[in-house]
């Protein structure tokens, strides 16, 4: 593996898979290095009788708790939000809820419209064809006609059934005159794609899908990329993007699971390791020419870390809603409060999204509600809740602040001895205001829907599933890390395609936007052959 490849992709998750496929379609020689392994969906936790316990063990989304061999620890003692991710072929799509909304046009113009943060150097219309392409590749179930979003071309699949709970909540939204719509989800409502079946409404998408109905990229993009000739090396822990004497990326150094050191030369390097992993790699890639880390002349690598700080409100109903049936996050959402309204005392907005209920253990432990007390009365309380709950998440737009950042920890190292990331993050006042406003609205809906008990959680710590902003995109090298195509300002044959490049976070799930940007970057590389001549 010492011959240079055209393109070296680091990370096999949502964005790396999309980029690898697109580049391999164009005939480029693509190699991806992934520190995790393939996951066997036929042995998914959902196939095991102890599936609910597995959520707290090897299928936990929090790497510091899960502690698999492929994971690296993260110092999160300076943040209230736990970072969630998965290291494997498919990345965090192996754990995700598959929500697939798109940014609004206004999300790209935050500075212009609201005077905060920065505008993106591109707009919705430029990304729209890539959203459409990505939807076809992933398989998206939805209903056309949502009045909260721009008109869209028909997508491949009819909607997933929202279920009884969402139907009851939708009626409440209607009575309040508030927007709601079935969520766009990357879950097959019908068989779609090679070897991919239809969802059978088992519930816990986060614990694996032997139907392959859930669109993790190991079952969507990767089989097609590999058929094109792309290669995927698993168990490959990259610790440095190397550079040549001209300051161009020359490849990457990595360590295999046996501890052997390797170097892979490449003409182009693409980072796709998420908003924490990519920042970590850039900061690790120190050299004489790049003493502060690679592509970091702006000093912004690792800065502007954004999440989607999430509150939660759960309602208990006096009827069986069969809440454990159906993809847990594929239900309905409301963007009634998505755009800025100055009367709230905050800029930007929020999304309410319904998620379904838990199984018996999750209900007893209290993932969405307080734990059911032990002792006499425990069993009756469990039956009064099991299948009878609905939850609305309050997803707020997290504004970028340079003080929120990823750094290299001075002491913590992974199992290969590589410095680990440390997160430094505070929730700002704007977000708190949006969280409280959204929580009040969510409680209003539950009351309208006739919930007998309504329990708010102001913020849920275990919601750091979106890791954004740490290699900001922009036109000015002094105020951004990469250009509008994800190309590093400082290193012409280095690209970033994960959520690190986000200028702002919007108030919704980012994966469809991450992948659309990755496809656009790939087309830019193909069209311009940018960087491909570098090492030849």
């Amino acid at each position: 593996m010492t011959e240079p490849v055209d393109v070296l992709v680091i990370g096999a998750g949502a964005s790396g898979a999309a980029a690898a496929w697109r580049l391999s379609e164009a005939g480029l020689d693509v190699l991806c290095l992934e520190q995790g392994d393939w996951v066997d969906h036929d042995q998914a936790a959902t196939t095991q009788p102890d599936w609910e316990v597995r959520r707290d063990r090897d299928w936990n989304p929090y790497p510091n708790h899960r502690k698999l061999a492929a994971d690296y620890p993260i110092n999160d003692s300076d943040t209230p939000i736990l970072p969630l991710m998965y290291n494997g072929v498919g990345g965090s799509t192996l754990h995700w809820g598959c929500c697939f909304p798109r940014f609004h046009p206004s999300d790209f113009r935050v500075k212009t419209l609201d005077g905060v943060a920065d505008d993106w150097p591109l707009g919705y219309s430029e990304l729209e064809p890539y959203y459409d392409l990505n939807d076809r590749m992933m398989g998206v179930s939805c209903v056309i006609g949502d009045p909260a979003n721009p008109p869209r071309t028909p997508r491949p699949l009819p909607p997933i059934s929202p279920g009884r709970g969402a139907t009851r909540m939708a009626a409440a939204f209607d009575r309040l005159g508030w927007h709601w719509w079935p969520m766009d989800v990357a879950v097959n409502s019908q068989p779609y794609g090679e070897g991919r079946g239809a969802c059978n409404y088992c519930g816990p998408c986060d614990l694996g899908c032997p139907q392959r109905a859930r669109a993790s990229t190991d079952v969507t993009y990767w089989p097609r990329a590999i058929a094109n000739g792309a290669r995927l090396e698993t168990g490959a822990r990259v610790h440095e993007v190397t550079t040549d004497e001209r300051g161009r990326a020359s490849g990457a150094s990595w360590i295999d699971t046996e501890g052997n050191a390797w170097h892979q030369p490449a003409r182009v390097v693409i980072l796709a390791a998420n908003g924490v992993g990519t920042a970590r790699l850039l900061l690790l890639s120190v050299s004489k020419a790049f003493p502060d880390g690679l592509a970091n002349s702006s000093g912004l690598v690792g800065r502007n870390l954004m999440h989607h700080v999430t509150g939660m409100v759960t309602g208990v109903f006096d009827e069986d809603l069969e809440a454990y049936k159906g993809p847990f996050a594929a239900s309905i959402f409301s963007q009634e409060f998505y755009e800025t309204d100055a009367s709230r005392g905050a800029v930007r907005g929020l999304q309410l999204m319904q998620i379904r209920g838990d199984g018996p253990l999750g209900t007893a432990i209290g993932r969405y509600l307080p734990q059911i007390p032990w002792g006499e009365g425990h069993h009756e309380r469990l039956l009064a809740r099991l299948g009878r709950t609905a939850t609305l998440t309050v997803t707020t737009e997290d504004l970028p602040h340079e003080s929120n950042h990823v750094s290299l920890d001075a002491e913590l190292v992974d199992s290969s001895g590589i410095a680990c990331p440390a997160l430094h993050y505070e929730i700002d006042d704007n977000t708190w205001t949006l969280l409280d406003f959204g929580s009040e609205r969510a409680q209003e809906v539950f009351n309208e829907a006739g919930a007998t008990e309504v329990v708010p959680q102001r913020v849920v710590p275990g919601t750091g599933f979106h890791l954004l902003g740490t290699a900001k995109m922009g036109s000015d090298p002094a105020s951004s890390v990469v250009d509008p195509f994800g190309q590093a300002h400082d290193v012409p044959n280095l690209f970033v395609v994960d959520g690190s490049t986000f200028v702002t976070a919007a108030a919704l799930n980012p994966t469809s936007t991450i992948q659309a940007l990755a496809l656009r970057t790939a087309d830019h590389i193909i069209a311009t052959r940018r960087g491909l001549e570098a090492a030849s």
Binding site: A44, T46, T47, Q48, P49, E52, V53, D56, R57, H104, P105, S106, F108, R109, L113, G123, Y124, S125, V143, G145, P147, A148, N149, P159, S161, P162, G163, R164, T167, A170, F173, D174, H179, W181, P182, Y201, C202, C209, P210, Q211, D320, E322, K325, G326, Q335, Y338, E339, G359, P360, L361, I365, Q371, W374, G375, E376, H378, H379, L383, L386, G387
Partner: protein
Amino acid sequence: MSRLELLPQVLDRLLPAVDELGGAGELGLAARLNDDPLLIAAPGSIDTVLDALPDGYSTQEPAAQSEVLRQIERQEPDAFAILISAAYNAYYVDPRVLARIERRTAYKAGAPQPGGYGIEPFDESILAQIAERDPLWREVES
């Protein structure tokens, strides 16, 4: 009384007998707690709780035993919380427990896959009101 004898009695108070089902201790779940990663990570938790039990605990009435445990829960909240989580983890994967829940609800015991669930199909008529609404997204210049 040894830990082997005391722990099942404690579990019987935490998750008591219900319907035809014995309490968590009677079901023999005490041994399973040893394998719980929570307790492996915090191995002294059970001992902390058991060591706080007064002499004669095992001969007390159930209500008195529960009151003792509530006192310990207040005194040793971290250790007690770990014990509770481990007890729930063991209890709610037990086939006998899940079979009882299945008998009382529409929930299906066992693994969610490959069977999945049947569900009512989506009725698009519920969109009638919202679909009539004017666009509420903001137009912006590209």
